[in-house]
């Protein structure tokens, strides 16, 4: 459990970081290192160069404005979680981060790093999709933005191009009629999800008027739950939930079997979590607490 030899570089500017990444085909960006370093210790990942972006100017910004929250590439999960302003603007972030690993890991792990790593069972990619977040990327060809909904392509596979890095992510402020929350099943507190749902649920007159429901931990990529999003329209607190359950179960059609749970289990759990999340969102009645 020792990494193969590698070089280490800690640039001060994004330009230097990009230039360094351009010097090697196996170079990796080091942010919090909470996934990368274990992978290197197992020699599953053997980059010849680590570009540590912890010192890049501007990457530590955490700005809360009327439009939402801008989180720089080196901002830790703990810092986001601790900010009352963030919790006010995007309540789902703090609530979701409670599910992300443990305190010590969140102290080092970054929000952008988790998104870039794109573990299919991670919370933050799913939340970014549910919230309609925007990713800010910079690479050899310049800067661009990508909707979180278009960013995740497969297990540990994203739209990031060669030599490109995430410089920040923008979570829009939660609309007044919407509640964003996350629910998941993990065998132990702090584990990656066996099955999870990130939900942004809009209500009007006590009924669901629109929803972005995102599954994670179920298949190889966090996914919008098309059938459930359709079935949930008009759902009210007292309603029978079997249609919603059934639609969410259908959304889990590409669920995976692994050592922790069967595919069938994940589909059933997805159904149950979808119902649970929507009911919780309705119960909080758009007051923004989400929990």
């Amino acid at each position: 459990m020792k990494p193969a030899p590698f070089d280490y570089y800690r640039p001060a500017t994004v330009e230097d970081a990009l230039a360094a990444l351009g010097t090697s085909e196996t170079a990796k960006v080091l942010a919090g290192g909470q996934s990368l370093i274990p992978a290197m210790n197992f020699r599953l990942s053997q980059p010849d160069l680590l570009v540590d972006i912890g010192g890049v100017e501007g990457f530590d910004r955490l700005d809360v404005g009327p439009s939402g929250v801008m989180i720089g590439a080196s901002v830790t999960q703990s810092r986001v979680m601790a900010s009352d302003e963030v919790a006010e603007a995007v309540p789902g972030l703090r609530q979701a981060l409670h599910h992300v690993a443990h305190l010590q890991i969140r102290n080092r792990g970054t929000v952008c790093g988790s998104i870039a790593h794109a573990d299919p069972a991670a919370e933050l990619p799913a939340l970014a999709i549910a919230c309609g977040a925007t990713l800010f990327l910079q690479g050899p060809a310049g800067e661009r933005t990508v909707d979180a909904g278009d960013f995740f392509l497969g297990p540990f596979w994203t739209d990031l191009g060669e030599g490109e890095i995430i410089t920040g992510v923008h979570f829009p402020s939660e609309p007044a009629d919407t509640v964003t929350l996350m629910d998941e099943l993990a065998w132990r507190s702090g584990d990656f999800a066996i099955t999870g749902v990130a939900a942004a649920v809009a209500t009007r007159d006590g009924c669901v008027s629109g929803a972005r429901l995102v599954s994670f931990g179920v298949s190889g990529v966090p996914s919008r739950m098309a059938a459930a999003e359709q079935a949930v329209l008009g759902f009210a607190p007292g309603d029978d939930s079997s249609a919603l359950y059934g639609a969410a179960y259908e959304d889990g059609g590409d669920a995976v079997d692994d050592i922790h749970a069967t595919a069938e289990y994940r589909r059933e759990a997805l159904g149950a979590l979808a119902v649970r999340s929507v009911r919780a969102a309705l119960a909080s009645n758009g007051n923004g607490t989400g929990v």
Binding site: W187, S242, A272
Partner: protein
């Protein structure tokens, strides 16, 4: 001296207050809590090199060739050794007559039988370079894959690939049994059923992985090894390498847990010693977590095929059980064959079952060798027994508590002989169960009320009544050692006491309890006592800490040594007091003539006479004030009788566990809402430490009941785990608060009436959790037959029982 040893504190000692039975604070906690404990990873010697082992990536293969040249060419690499280089090291010994001999080499020579099997060792300036080189050795090794055997069914199939060419099949142990009275009971009973119960592959998971630092100087070897049994390591290294035993010193320094996994003698212990000798300089190997999961012994991989005969009224007439243990490749010393016999011998737990027949089998597969883990076969058997009882209760409509009441051992049945020959000398089985039922009944009502409004949640309760065999013979496990252990007590001129013990400390509080015992038996205070363990040059020969044996063997050997010391000390004191020895008593640490408080002679004065002012000794007395007691636990048997019965444990503690769980039907989520333990380990030396043993044991039992599971690919026999991402131990968030109460039924046979308490906590949870989940989901017809009981497994059971999924 005869083998007769005192079982009571010497009556000449008068204490103001007893040190036995008191919650004396643990003296060993300060260093680890301050981060100042010295584990093997903290030890460094001048010129020390680091070793990495090269381990098989194949589950079953022949080694065709190994090219070490590319690894040797790497800067910083000092040496690479393969099995062929260690030709002067003997194979691991085989000493048990009734099993297939394995006799594995320390480094695999021509065949590997599990992923992780060590076949070469790299020595380098640091671990980073060593691992770079190990990667190169692996890349330049040619394997010829062989057909694999991934589980019991594959191993026992007709024409199954064999792990050992010269064996007729894959049985390491093959002990069928048949009893005519069992056959008759099956004929006479109203009903019978057959079922299969499975417990999964787990391990003891020490916080500190293993490690070995070996040094050689002037032909004298010092081996620091994270082992529970330093003397046994010494004897085995000597036997295998030919190094004279007095020239080997094995030190087990501070240990971060062992849980049985560190009782085995691992290849690394021997290879590291050999490398130090070969290179003439210190070498260290630190096992990392990946290696520990892959190559520390596994355990509990058992399947039980049972037939049960019972009557309409819920009476269980007979159980027939085929206990089959998947012992992995079997390449471990001591072999992992004894646990299944313990499973069989303890299957009935705290119950009186009229007829039982157990067939014992150990089967080799291409998986990590299995061996010792806290509980040592008892949890697996208890899971089976309680499942049988719950099933009979359900089939006959009998109350699960009532059916247990009818079967549980009563005080007037003591001493009670179990079917396998275990002789339970005393206990509080029925009383403990009644108390557990009472305690859990109260919380059951509260939990039911808590979830009364949630139709998705069901609540259930489960029970178990177990016996915990303690201080077992090591002869049936090793074919060599037996059951004795030792204590050397020395009183120094300043009057303070040094106790050297053959047992070891791995976190269980032995230092504190040994000090209490020594203080009590010498009329001193625990603060006057220094305890030394885990060092073959500083402590007398002993078998180490395992099998919940330390309490009994320490009590016995300390009492023996103390008695001999006191006899001599009294003679010296009497001489100094100019009195007759039989008139001298010892109170509050001072010798004086009975009936008069003055003058007194202190331990310091006696010891000064014995060591320094020997001119003050009675004429002709040998100087010195150091005595050793070598204690063999009474009642302990080492070989079965003609009928196969053996009382393989010196004592039998008992306990009742009960737990309430809530189960969410839609997701299978399970929560232990309350857990109670009523525990009886005889005389308690330190109740606080016993509580800690129970708490930790229950946590490990919950690990087995709900979480930990080593899984293998059934096609390739490759492990599906590499880290704690796959192997899930419960954290403090998952282990519930629990209530522990004690009864104290002293053993009539063991010193001070102690029985031992290291493993009882682990025995209960699998049976309790499974019973409670069954109870919660009884109306759906769910029956749990395997551990771990995960949400996915619960949903599967609900689907099977309801043909679809039950309620959503």
């Amino acid at each position: 001296m005869t083998l007769d040893s005192p079982t009571r504190i010497n009556p000449m000692i008068r204490h103001r207050a007893s040190h036995i039975g008191r919650a004396v604070p643990r003296r060993e906690d300060r260093s680890p809590l301050m981060g100042r404990q010295r584990y093997i990873a903290d030890l460094k010697l001048p010129g020390m090199l680091e070793v990495a082992f090269v381990r098989s990536p194949e589950a079953h293969a022949r080694i065709v060739s190994i090219d070490t040249a590319p690894a040797l060419a790497l800067p910083g690499v000092h040496a690479v050794f393969t099995g062929a280089d260690l030709a002067d090291v003997d194979l691991f010994p085989h000493k048990i007559l009734y099993i297939q001999p394995v006799r594995q080499p320390v480094l695999a020579l021509d065949q590997v039988r599990y992923v992780g099997s060590p076949y070469a060792a790299v020595v380098a300036t640091d671990r980073y370079v060593a691992e770079d080189a190990a990667t190169l050795v692996a890349a330049y090794t040619e394997f010829e894959p062989l057909p694999t055997v991934a589980d019991l069914d594959q191993a026992l199939a007709e024409n199954a690939p064999r792990l050992y060419d010269d064996w007729p099949d894959n049985y390491l142990v093959n002990f069928p049994a048949e009893k005519p009275e069992v056959t008759q009971a099956f004929e006479e009973a109203d009903h019978t059923f057959s079922d299969t119960y499975v417990s999964q592959r787990q391990t003891g998971l020490p916080l500190e992985c293993r490690g070995v630092l070996a040094d050689v100087h002037d032909g004298y070897f010092t081996v620091w090894s994270s082992t529970q049994s330093p003397h046994i390591v010494r004897t085995t290294i000597a036997e295998m390498t030919g190094i004279p035993e007095p020239r080997i010193r094995v030190i087990a320094p501070a240990m971060g847990g062992g849980f049985g996994t560190k009782t085995h003698i691992y290849p690394e212990d021997v290879v590291m010693t050999w490398i130090a000798g070969k290179l003439g300089r210190p070498v260290r190997w630190l096992e990392d977590r990946f290696e520990n999961l892959l190559t520390g012994v596994h355990a509990r991989d058992q399947r039980h095929e049972v037939d049960v005969a019972y009557d309409d009224d819920g009476t269980i007439r007979a159980v027939r059980c085929k206990a089959i243990c998947d012992v992995g490749s079997g390449e471990i010393f001591m072999p992992g064959t004894a646990t299944v016999f313990v499973t069989g011998g303890c299957l009935t737990g705290g119950y009186d079952l009229p007829n039982m027949e157990v067939h014992h089998f150990c089967v080799v597969t291409n998986k990590t060798p299995s061996g010792a883990y806290r509980g040592f076969g008892v949890p697996e058997g208890m899971f089976v027994m309680e499942r049988i009882i719950d099933r009979v209760a359900r089939l006959t409509g009998t109350d699960p508590v009532e059916i247990r009441r009818r079967m549980i051992l009563q005080e007037d049945q003591m001493p009670y002989e179990m079917h396998g020959g275990g002789r339970i000398d005393s206990g509080s089985h029925a009383k403990a169960f009644e108390r557990a039922v009472e305690m859990i009944g109260e919380s059951l009502e509260l939990v039911r009320a808590r979830y009364a409004d949630d139709p998705d949640v069901r609540v259930g309760v489960g029970y178990t009544n177990y016996v915990e065999p303690t201080t077992p013979t090591y002869h049936l496990t090793t074919g060599f050692w037996a059951g004795g252990d030792s204590a050397t007590i020395r009183v120094d001129p300043d009057g303070s006491v040094r106790v050297g013990l053959g047992t070891t400390a791995l976190g269980q509080g032995t230092e504190t309890t040994a000090a209490q015992l020594a203080a009590e038996s010498l009329g001193l205070h625990p603060d006057d006592v220094t305890v030394v363990m885990g060092d073959t040059d500083r402590a007398p020969y002993g078998l180490g800490a395992w099998g919940s044996r330390s309490a009994i063997v320490m009590s016995g050997s300390i009492l023996m040594a103390a008695d001999r010391l006191i006899t001599k000390a009294r003679d010296i004191a009497a001489h100094l007091l100019e009195a007759a020895a039989e008139d001298v008593v010892l109170s509050d640490g001072n010798f004086h003539v009975s009936g008069s408080d003055a003058p007194t002679v202190s331990w310091s004065q006696v010891a000064t006479s014995a060591w320094v002012r020997t001119l003050d000794l009675p004429r002709g007395m040998e100087p010195g004030l150091e005595m050793t007691g070598y204690f063999e636990p009474p009642e302990l048997e080492h070989l079965p009788d003609m009928s196969g019965k053996v009382n393989a444990a010196a004592s039998w503690s008992n306990g009742a566990h009960a737990g309430v769980v809530s189960v969410r039907i839609s997701t299978g989520e399970i929560k232990i809402e309350d857990y109670v333990v009523v525990h009886d380990c005889g005389t308690m030396i330190n109740p606080m430490i016993i509580d800690g043993q129970v708490h930790g044991g229950v946590a490990q039992g919950i690990a087995g009941a709900m979480y930990e599971h080593f899984q293998y690919d059934t096609e390739t026999a490759r492990p599906l785990f590499a880290s704690f991402m796959e192997y899930l131990y419960p954290t403090c968030s998952e282990v519930p608060a629990m209530t522990v109460e004690h009864f104290e039924t002293p053993s009539p046979e063991q010193p001070l009436g102690v029985k031992g308490c290291g493993e009882g906590g682990t025995i209960g949870p699998a049976a309790v959790v499974a019973g409670a989940v069954d109870d919660a989901l009884a109306d759906l017809g769910v029956e749990i037959k395997a551990t771990p009981v995960t949400p996915s497994a619960i949903r599967e059971a609900i689907r099977e029982a309801t043909a679809g999924g039950g309620e959503r």
